[in-house]
């Protein structure tokens, strides 16, 4: 966005100030993530840049915290990672199925009481997490699912469905319903029509909703803090205890792995968004 030649000086100055300010904000957003990366290769036990690291001395860098993360004694990360993935995967599957089906109903123009039902369905997103945590804890304790994987998975399904409902309803808003009618007129039953026609078309929305649900579950601390026992510790819970109690650089190795994971999720989400826009015919 180069300025035209006739721009007056003070606007020019103003414009460069604006660009500088934006640069600072972008730096503020992204830089904290990059602090973790070098520190996770620290050879020492402290969470500060050692003199050696500032001089880029190869001696000051090591992989010992990654080693500790994988092979460390009484290592909690293996179990935590396993639990996190199991919980997140099942929670995602549950949210996607329930959310997609509900979104199909919601975007039908015949749906009665649309406003209030939509409000109920996305309420877990609006209610502060701590309140959801208290409520879900009361429920799970009553039905005997506290401190079980099933309880945590159900809790995460509750949190994940609003994202699926919102993304799929958005995809369906540009959906041409005549294609399903065409399929029906050609003798296809509703299930077949859904699997062969509707689903492939709304798939980007479904998957990106699923990604949101996965990340929500994978990153969720508050509810797991209330619900989890010793056997259901997850990666966020381990990080939480680590950050509160013994601040060890192993946490930074885990954090680095999580950043890599989130980069992958970002790429996937971005590709999906573009594909979805192409299918819906939105050109920018």
């Amino acid at each position: 966005m180069a300025l035209p030649k006739y721009t007056e000086t003070h606007y020019r100055i103003w414009h460069y100030c604006y660009l500088f300010f934006c640069g600072c904000v972008f730096f503020f957003l992204i830089a904290p993530l990059f602090v973790i990366f070098p520190l996770s290769f620290n050879a020492e036990e402290f969470l500060v840049f050692s003199e050696g690291m500032k001089r880029l001395d190869p001696e000051a860098f090591s992989l010992r915290w990654y080693h500790d993360m994988i092979y460390g004694t009484k290592n909690p990360w293996g179990l935590a990672a396993k639990n996190s993935f199991i919980i997140a995967i099942f929670a995602t599957i549950g949210s996607v199925i329930l959310g997609t089906v509900a979104a199909l109903g919601l975007s039908s123009k015949h749906m009665p009481y649309k406003g209030i039902i939509m409000a109920t369905l996305i309420s877990p997103m609006i209610v502060p997490l701590i309140i959801s945590g208290v409520a879900i804890f009361f429920f799970m304790a009553k039905v005997g699912l506290a401190a079980t994987h099933a309880g945590i998975i159900l809790a995460h399904i509750i949190l994940g469905t609003p994202f699926v409902v919102i993304t799929v309803t958005a995809t369906l808003s540009g959906f041409d319903h005549s294609v399903t009618r065409a399929a029906a007129s050609l003798g296809s039953n509703p299930v077949n029509t859904f699997m062969k026609i509707t689903l492939p078309l709304i798939l980007p929305g479904v998957i990106s909703g699923g990604l949101f649900a996965f990340v929500t579950s994978f990153d969720e601390v508050v509810i797991v803090l209330f619900l989890a026992g010793l056997d259901n510790t997850t990666i966020p819970i381990q990080m939480w205890t680590g950050l509160r109690e013994q601040l060890s650089p192993t946490i930074l190795s885990v954090a680095t792995c999580l950043i890599v994971l989130s980069t992958l999720v970002l790429v996937a989400a971005e590709l999906l968004r573009r594909r979805s826009e192409r299918i819906r015919g939105i050109n920018r």
């Binding site: 966005m1 660009l19 934006c22 904000v25 972008f26 503020f28 957003l29 904290p32 993530l33 602090v35 973790i36 500060v48 840049f49 329930l98 089906v101 509900a102 199909l104 109903g105 919601l106 039908s108 015949h110 749906m111 009665p112 109920t120 309420s123 609006i126 209610v127 502060p128 701590i130 309140i131 959801s132 945590g133 208290v134 409520a135 879900i136 804890f137 009361f138 429920f139 159900l154 509750i158 994202f163 958005a170 994978f218 990153d219 508050v222 803090l225 209330f226 966020p236 990080m239 939480w240 950050l243 509160r244 946490i251 954090a255 989130s262 980069t263 970002l266 989400a269 971005e270 968004r273």
Partner: protein, 417 residues
């Protein structure tokens, strides 16, 4: 359709109108059935427990169950003079069981909240009651401490008799019901929750304003830059958005510590002396900085999606009609972005007001919010009814904000990604 004209029939011989209605109803049921599984799942496992919190919050059976005989004996006490020997005996018997089962500490905490000075006389009674002789309990109890002979304390006990009460809500705003049954504020040195509510509101507002001030320019830049640059810069917004909250909080803990990079930088440019490094963590500053960075993407994304739809020709038209860049911005561009501003501010404010993780880790004592207090009562004091009461008060606040937003801007503006 005029009434004289013949009704149009379908091939089955049913009037078309009726047939249409039938199909309509069928479609309605079909749509509703699709929504059913999720709706009922949420109602059972989510909405009903929240409603259940309403009951938990007024549930005061803890004290009622601890002193059952006392409250029974107190039923025919008018509350004017000291209660009769019967009440004293019942209280002695109830309290003896509590001491034997080691539950009397809880009663002391609860009663001390009702009236100051209860804790010490209950503790003293717990020690002395072992040597009590049978009969004439009134005299023996009054001998333990002179306050047991004051009618105020017995009235305070009687006030806790009902199974349901709203005292937890009063406690949540630093009020209580005094002897005359009037609702008054607790003494100034014991007020904690009012400060906490105000601080929560203050932090949520300040973070929202900071986010808005930082997000508006970059959302504008992202929306006006050519695609190939803006996509690259968008990563700076989206990567933190997808990154784990704990990772981002951890990085702020590293940056803001006394030997951290921010302090190093300040020393290096000479703003602060090396031995006077400012404390930026475990206080409000830490909470402000970390929460602003963490919630910033939630402000940028709605702003961006609105700004993207504003045609640049509007600005050009404004300029060609003689407006200076500032006037065209203020009169044309800014009003068009208000839906985005509304959505972003609402999102950030609601997220900030219920924030728990980041304040707990970087907030210290002066940077924590109401949710930290809720979690504390859930996990440590186990005063679930108080936690529920505070949770519901917070929820009411959020819903009011939400309702106002819906009136002003409309709720359909929330977009993801």
């Amino acid at each position: 359709m005029s009434s004289e004209s013949q009704k149009i029939l379908t091939t089955d011989g049913i009037p078309l109108e009726e047939s249409l209605k039938k199909t309509e109803r069928k479609n309605k049921i079909k749509a509703f059935l699709l929504v059913c599984p999720l709706l009922f799942f949420l109602i059972i496992s989510y909405v009903s427990p929240i409603v259940g919190m309403l009951f938990t919050s007024v549930d005061d059976r803890m004290v009622t169950n601890m002193l059952p005989k006392t409250f029974k004996a107190m039923e025919d006490w008018d509350g004017k003079d000291l209660p009769s020997e019967k009440v004293f005996e019942a209280f002695y018997l109830d309290y003896k069981i509590l001491v034997d089962e080691n539950r009397h500490g809880k009663l002391a905490t609860q009663m001390n909240y009702e009236k100051n000075g209860f804790k010490s006389i209950l503790k003293k009674l717990a020690r002395k009651q072992k040597k009590f002789e049978e009969g004439n309990y009134k005299e023996q109890i009054m001998k333990v401490h002179k306050r047991w002979g004051q009618v105020d304390y017995w009235r305070a006990i009687k006030r806790r008799a009902p199974s349901y009460s709203y005292i937890k809500y009063l406690k949540g705003v630093d009020m209580y019901e005094n002897e005359e049954g009037k609702i008054v504020e607790v003494p100034e040195d014991r007020r904690i929750y009012k400060i906490l509510w105000l601080r929560t509101l203050e932090i949520a507002l300040v973070v929202t304003i900071f986010c808005f001030l930082l997000a508006y320019p970059i959302a504008h830049l992202l929306a006006t830059l050519p695609m190939k640059y803006s996509n690259l810069l968008m990563i700076c917004v989206l990567l933190p958005f997808w990154t784990s909250l704990l990772v981002r909080t951890a990085s702020w803990m590293i940056l803001l510590q006394q030997q951290g990079l921010v302090n190093d930088f300040l020393v290096w440019i000479g703003i602060v002396a090396d031995d006077h490094r400012p404390v930026m963590m475990y206080n409000k500053i830490g909470t402000y900085i970390a929460m602003t960075q963490i919630l910033l993407p939630f402000m940028v994304l709605p702003l961006y999606s609105v700004m993207k739809t504003i045609s640049p020709s509007l600005m050009r038209a404004g300029k060609s009609l003689g407006g200076t860049p500032f006037i065209t911005f203020w009169k044309i561009y800014f009003p068009l972005t208000i839906p985005g501003i509304g959505a972003g501010c609402l999102l950030v404010f609601i997220l900030a007001i219920g924030y728990y993780i980041t304040p707990e880790l970087v907030g210290g004592a002066s940077g924590t919010l109401i949710s930290n207090q809720i979690a504390y009562h859930m996990k440590h004091t186990l005063d679930w009814s108080f936690a529920s009461a505070m949770g519901l008060m917070l929820l009411t606040g959020v819903l009011v904000v939400y309702w106002v937003y819906n009136k002003l801007v409309g709720i359909d503006n929330i977009k993801l990604g």
